[in-house]
């Protein structure tokens, strides 16, 4: 009887063991499949032309203007060859730099975004609070988000106390389009950043950037 019981418990444990190994064997790919979205990367960032606005339409202290950025956009399995990937606000703050020679243009384009900001701010229209579309305020002297009343100055910094946003509006890397004979157009690297975070972290991977606090 005892022998029979031993045999039974051995078979029992063997059955449990094989079943367990199988569950892990099938479970691992199933889990990997489920967390596949974690491996999806954000769109590739490259300098893209800002359409619908020319630099000579802006003036220091004048009303900001909006431009549109188009690129190939991949939505899962669907490819949109020429879709709007985002919009930007252009705010001129200082005088236009001297771009009279190709060398000067190249030198200006090589500057950092922060250095270029003495001439022009380029913001994404996405609110750093929770991602709504930031508009100009009624007076045109600042920005206002329609969702949770986040407000920003023309330099993109948070306006009043009690502002729900944790950082200022997100600046984008940009340069003057050297292919434009009038040098009146700019190109940007359009990116979106994590919402509701004091840090400026690009979505879909990439290095942390300095926020506009």
């Amino acid at each position: 009887m005892a022998e029979d019981n031993n045999r039974r418990s051995f078979l029992g444990w063997l059955t449990v063991g094989i079943g367990g190994i199988f569950s892990v064997f099938l479970g691992v790919p199933v889990v990997a499949y489920v967390i596949d979205p974690r491996h999806r990367k954000g769109p590739k960032s490259a300098m893209k032309l800002v359409e619908g606005v020319k630099l000579n339409e802006l003036a220091p202290g004048g009303t900001p203007l909006q431009g549109v950025v188009r690129d190939t956009r991949t939505d899962g399995w669907t490819l949109y060859p020429n879709d709007v990937i985002g919009r930007v606000w252009l705010v001129q703050v200082g005088a236009r730099p001297d771009l009279s020679t190709p060398e000067k243009l190249a030198e200006f384009n090589a500057r950092t975004t922060a250095e270029k900001a003495s001439y022009l701010f380029v913001f994404t229209t996405k609110c750093p609070h929770l991602g709504c579309f930031v508009n100009l305020n009624g007076a045109g002297n600042g920005f206002a988000c329609p969702c949770h009343s986040a407000t920003f100055n023309l330099d993109g910094q948070r306006a009043a106390a009690g502002n729900p946003a944790q950082r200022g509006m997100d600046t984008l890397a940009w340069e003057i389009d050297a292919d434009d004979p009038e040098l009146n157009r700019i190109k940007v690297i359009f990116k979106s950043y994590e919402a509701n975070n004091a840090e400026k972290i690009p979505l879909g991977g990439g290095d942390k950037e300095t926020p506009n606090l």
């Binding site: 039974r8 418990s9 078979l11 029992g12 063997l14 059955t15 094989i18 079943g19 199988f22 099938l26 790919p29 199933v30 990997a32 499949y33 489920v34 967390i35 596949d36 491996h39 990367k41 190939t72 991949t74 899962g76 399995w77 669907t78 490819l79 949109y80 060859p81 020429n82 190709p102």
Partner: protein, 705 residues
């Protein structure tokens, strides 16, 4: 811990109820089939739920989403592959299970209700197979389902209504997919689960059909110690598990063998080789998993539609009942067989049991053998050499052999399209639907369009070039124009410079003229290049050039050929030596041809057009822009001007096209209206890309990348 859980939940009793069922007569290997079916069904549930998270049931998106699962998602190939082969395994296991049941006499009283439930489960499984086959919305599923629903539609009385209801309208499309999807993931699996619970419950009531338990005494954990009885756990459970693992091994073997079309993934970012994990996670690109055909396109000529292999016997049956007798093949025989199966237990009531048992085995074996033979015959008919060394084949039937060859040819053509579509979709699918990958593919459709629109004048023969994966047929019916197979490549230009009147170049562009004796002979139209070649040759003779000097000039011509071929590429990459050779007066190019020249303006580099105007403008020669102007306006002064003999191909449709056509006519008054041929913008771009070996599909007119 376990004691606490058991106190609160009664877990121990539940486990005992599930596992300690008595198996009268003891555990047997032959009892494993039911458990195996339940096991494979549970795999179908898990993998099916996984697939649902990534699948999009719409006629424009379904194929692309399945492609994404198969080729892009981590282990998508495995999940989809297991689901695909799981369905086939279910069908095979059901046949084995039924065979085992009938041989054991387990369908006979008192177990007839469970037999009927089993037939219900069989029908639901067939329903799941049929609906699932359509969901990828590939050519295979689409055409097979089209046939299946048309069979339903051809039935008497309510056929048309049933079809319209199933398809969701008069024709298949989005509504067919949403309906089949709802059936496949909701209605049918739920029905299956309900039937399965009933099936197992009733099975537990009667127990296995062994010698000791023929009359189905009510089993329970308590009779575990009944004479000759043994609990389910652990021996039978172990047998079941081993059988399940064996079956899973077979499924996995099929998945790993791989029936998918291998593709080349887009160049890895930052040039990084994928690690072992990434490679296995995306093994679909190497062809692992289930096949995915090209996206369904109703505009396909002669797709060789066949149902999944386990429906081939029904497909074959139809062949024997033509015309008005079709109903025998579609309804009467299949449903008669189902009815016979349904009635099978009733033949064994009471004292008839032995006779009924024998009759049941006879029926079951006959049905399986018949279905098997029909399947073999269906496979045999489609193969010129037949199956099983051709023993079923009538060797003298030339017509049948021809039909089989034709079928195989079509299968091969469909496979090429499938491979191409799977490859193109690696970059993403057009929003119009996966089938536009082929419709707007320069390789497939551009080639076809060239044949239709250009090949009556232009030949198209090509030197093998780099890695050309797909077959290509030379076109040699052209009579009156150049051979564009290698147009724009350095060898092509070099050949033209060597012998302009070769039949590859201008030799066939002729019109009737008279020779010295007044006889009518064809005269070449483009004698400009011929004149140039004669000039060059006569200078060499007149000035008594040494062979070294001639060789040096020929070397310059090679540089020119390369430089002209580079006109299609970026300006910066053009070779300065080629430009210098082109503008070398001794070579006599720039006297007739205008071309963009790189010059220095102070520190700046500028590009200025320089040269004569009597020949075509060679700026951007061989580029899409150059060919486009040639197709749309060959008589333009920057192309062949008055010497032109080629029709202009213009888009006659679409907003603004009438204006552009009118402007074209006003500026080309010499051109007779018959010399303007219709060609849509997208078709033109595909032809241009085909000529240029640029095989990126045209996405809604916008070029990708």
């Amino acid at each position: 811990m376990f004691a606490w859980l058991d106190h609160r939940t009664g877990l121990k009793n539940l486990l005992a109820l599930m596992l300690l069922e008595g198996v009268p007569g003891g555990a047997r290997w032959r009892y494993v089939w039911g458990s195996c079916l339940a096991f494979v069904f549970s795999i179908q549930l898990v993998t099916g739920l996984m697939l649902m998270t990534a699948y999009s049931p719409s006629s424009s998106q379904a194929w692309a989403s399945v492609h994404f699962i198969q080729y892009q998602m981590d282990f998508g190939w495995l999940i989809r592959g297991l689901h695909h082969f799981g369905s086939q395994t279910m069908v095979v296991l059901i046949a084995l299970h039924m065979l085992q049941v009938v041989i054991a006499g387990a369908h006979l009283p008192p177990r007839e209700v469970n037999w009927w439930l089993g037939i219900g489960l069989l029908s639901v499984t067939f329903g799941l197979s049929l609906t699932g086959y359509l969901l990828p919305w590939d050519q295979k599923g689409f055409w097979a389902t089209d046939v299946a629903t048309n069979i339903a539609g051809s039935l008497p009385m309510f056929g048309a209504d049933v079809k319209q209801q199933a398809v969701g309208g008069p024709d298949s499309g989005n509504h067919t997919l949403t309906r089949f999807y709802a059936l496949h993931v909701g209605i049918l699996p739920l029905s299956l689960i309900v039937l399965l619970i009933a099936h197992i419950t009733i099975f537990r009531r009667h127990g296995v059909t062994s010698k000791e338990n023929q009359d189905g005494l009510v089993t329970s954990p308590q009779n575990e110690h009944a004479p000759g009885s043994e609990p389910f756990w652990p021996r039978q459970a172990f047998y079941d598990l081993i059988a399940c693992m064996f079956i899973f091994g077979l499924m996995l073997t099929a998945v790993l063998y791989g029936f998918a079309h291998p593709v080349t993934p887009p160049a890895a970012e930052e040039g990084a080789e994928p690690g072992l994990y990434d490679r296995i996670a995306r093994w679909g690109v190497e062809g692992k998993g289930a096949e995915l055909d090209a996206a369904a396109d109703r505009d396909t000529a002669g797709y060789p539609a066949r149902p999944e292999w386990y429906f081939l016997f029904l497909f074959q049956l139809l062949k024997y009942f033509p015309g008005d007798y079709a109903i025998f093949g579609t309804v009467i025989i299949p449903n008669g067989a189902m009815l016979l199966l349904f009635l099978l237990p009733l033949f064994g009531i009471g004292s008839l049991r032995k006779v009924g048992h024998f009759f049941g085995i006879l029926v079951m074996v006959t049905l399986v053998v018949m279905a098997g033979l029909l399947t073999l015959k269906a496979l045999d008919d489609d193969r010129p050499e037949g199956v099983l060394w051709g023993i079923l084949k009538n060797k003298d039937d030339e017509k049948a052999k021809k039909a089989a060859e034709d079928f195989q040819h079509k299968v091969h053509a469909a496979e090429i399209l499938a491979r191409r579509a799977c490859q193109l979709a690696m970059e993403g699918s057009p929003v119009e639907g996966g089938h536009f990958l082929i419709r707007n593919d320069p390789y497939i459709t551009g080639q076809k369009l060239f044949k239709e629109k250009c090949a009556s004048c232009h030949n198209f023969t090509r030197q093998p070039f780099e890695k050309e994966e797909y077959p290509f047929e030379s076109m040699t019916d052209g009579k009156t124009a150049s051979d564009l197979g290698d147009f724009g490549r350095p060898e092509w230009v070099a050949g033209l410079l060597k012998n302009p009147l070769d039949k590859h170049f201008f030799g066939r562009v002729t019109e009737p003229g008279k020779d010295d004796k007044g006889k009518v002979v064809p005269q070449p139209v483009f004698d400009g290049m011929k004149g140039w070649r004669d000039d060059i040759d006569s200078v060499r003779v007149d000035e008594k050039w040494k062979p070294e000097k001639i060789a040096a000039q020929e070397k310059e011509f090679a540089l020119i050929a390369k430089w002209l071929a580079d006109q299609a590429g970026p300006k910066e990459k053009r070779d300065d030596a080629g430009q210098a050779a082109f503008f070398n007066k001794a070579n006599k190019c720039s006297g007739c041809h205008m071309v963009e020249k790189k010059e220095k303006d102070g520190a700046k580099i500028v590009f200025v057009k320089k040269g004569g105007k009597t020949g075509p403008d060679l700026t951007g020669y061989g580029s899409a822009e150059w060919i486009r102007a040639m197709i749309m306006s060959p008589g333009h002064k920057s192309r062949y001007g008055k010497a032109n003999r080629m029709p202009a191909f213009r888009n006659p449709d679409g907003a603004g096209s009438e204006l552009s056509l009118q402007e074209f006519r006003e500026t080309n008054k010499d051109m007779p209206p018959s010399m303007v041929s219709p060609l849509t913008d997208i078709d033109r771009e595909m032809i241009i890309r085909w000529i240029r070996r640029d095989y990126r599909p045209v996405y809604g007119g916008s070029p990708i990348r």
